[in-house]
Amino acid sequence: MRSARLHDGAGATLNADALRADARRESFGLLALLSPGLLLVFAVIIVPIGWLFWLSLFDEAGQLSAANYARFFEQASYIKTFVTTFKVAFTVTGACIVLGYPLAYMLSQLPRRAAGVCLIFVILPFWTSVLVRTYAWLVILQRKGLVNTWLMDLGVIAQPLSLANNFAGVVIGMTHIMLPFLVLPLYASMKTIDVDCLRAGMNLGASPAATFRQIFLPLSLPGLASGVVIVFVLCLGFFVTPALMGGGKVIMWAMRMEQTTSLYSNWGAGAALGVVLLAVTLALLGLFQWLLGARATGVWSQR
């Protein structure tokens, strides 16, 4: 470092100045490293969304108005879209809890090695294209698909069941896609539960069921909550599976946005839908963070 004479006051000030300049240079350097990434995100995400928000405030005649938002309450088709979206989101989230909790619990109780092997069954689908998985479910569930062929060959049913191109198909396909988003954070949080707590409970005479209900379950709830929030939020804005498996009958929020902008070129209305979707998403994530002090995006750093 620079030679500094610490014994006199002038030297100390000189030194402090040099240090401050050094710190500033350091900060500029770091900022320079950050700026390309930040600029890109700003230009491609923040700017267009701000622009769309601005557009949503004007009606088709170019007048400032709330017409784009008012129609959500007035037109039955919009209300139906919202109802469908929330119905799908709640059903899928519920199904993910029912399927995901036992799996995560099992993974957390298995020895390390076995758990590692079983985790592949969660991680591999997680990293398989959503399109591939939706295609698979179409093959399995459609009218002449595998399930119907099997059941009819076995004589269980005479007429094919309608499993794809309707609500059931969308829910099954989406549950498959969302399940890892619930299992991974839940498993990670279950791994941190101290086995000694459970052992103490059983030592004190609690049955396995009581130990689970009174100790394990409450301790696993924060992990479950973060999985639930992320699944629910992803469901609200999900596009691919409902578009391919809904058969044109199950119109969800994101499909509505696509139709309004691509098909009808009504940017104001589509933008308003997007703004409300974003607001709901951020509100739910914010509420979650405020209640539990954790970030729901943690799921991505674990995969």
Partner: protein, 266 residues
């Protein structure tokens, strides 16, 4: 009874749990397995298990100019996205890790924004922006859009690598006279290279599998594989897609194993 989990419950008492977990695992993996098997079927009907085997759907995939062009576009975009996202993401993660900047919360929020914001909104917004600057249906546009989506994964992966690395080593190198860059490239990077490679692989697969944004901003000569698949699925169920899907599944397995392998070297 294993040592690490010594609860006085036997595996036998837990059979129901294993059965339940096994069923859920089956639910998760079965669709992929079925598609892989069906891709070797000789019939254009959906039969499982197939009565006769053939490679005709693979021939139809590799023989089709349209599918081949789309695949080449996707590979090009994914490679460039992986390179750009890894460079920008590693630089950003390094800066975030130093924790000397103010507004760290805002910076993190901005860097990970694309994980939280609904993809459909990013798609529409990008299309809207690109229409004004002429980037729709271009490779550059696709790479930029995919980089934004891959960036958070690279940042998070590299950050987790940096967290388990002692930054003092770099300080020592610098106090011994190394410049900032040579200290990073000679001391830090060799030790976090596994996270960087993992991040690059995640970026590649994120770009390669991306559907929604590509639906809006790709088309014509730059139609990506996923966009073409999406449109094909909307019309009819062509078994060629089973062959393509199998290739995508194999790609996922290869990249994941590579990431796992590199992760272990950490």
């Amino acid at each position: 009874m294993s040592m690490e989990n010594s609860l006085p419950i036997s595996h036998r008492q837990r059979l129901w749990l294993y059965a339940l977990g096994g069923l859920v695992m089956l639910f998760l993996i079965a669709p992929s397995v079925i598609i892989v098997i069906m891709s070797f079927s000789a019939s254009s009907l959906l039969q499982f298990p197939p009565r006769e085997w053939s490679l005709r759907w693979y021939e139809s995939y590799f023989g089709s100019l349209e599918w081949r062009d789309a695949t080449i576009v996707s590979v090009k975009v994914a490679v460039m996205t992986a390179i750009v996202a890894t460079l920008l993401g590693t630089a950003a993660a390094y800066a975030v890790n130093a924790r000397t900047l103010r507004l760290t919360g805002a910076i993190n929020a901005l860097l990970t924004a694309s994980l939280i914001i609904p993809v459909i909104l990013i798609g529409i917004g990008t299309f809207f922006l690109y229409a004004r600057v002429g980037l729709n249906n271009t490779l550059t546009g696709l790479v930029i859009a995919h980089t934004v989506q891959a960036l958070p994964l690279v940042v998070l992966t590299v950050l987790s690598g940096l967290r388990s690395y002692d930054m003092n080593q770099e300080m020592v190198a610098r106090s011994l006279g190394a410049g900032r860059f040579s200290a990073f490239f000679q001391v830090t990077m060799p030790q976090i290279r596994f996270s960087i490679v993992s991040g690059a692989l995640f970026a590649f697969i994120t770009s390669f599998d991306e559907v929604v944004v590509s639906l809006f901003i790709s088309g014509g000569e730059t139609t990506t594989l996923t966009r073409r698949m999406f449109n094909a699925l909307r019309d009819q169920i062509d078994p060629t897609i089973a062959a393509i899907s199998t290739c995508l599944i194999v790609l996922s397995i290869v990249l994941l194993s590579a990431a796992q392998l590199f992760g272990r070297g950490r």
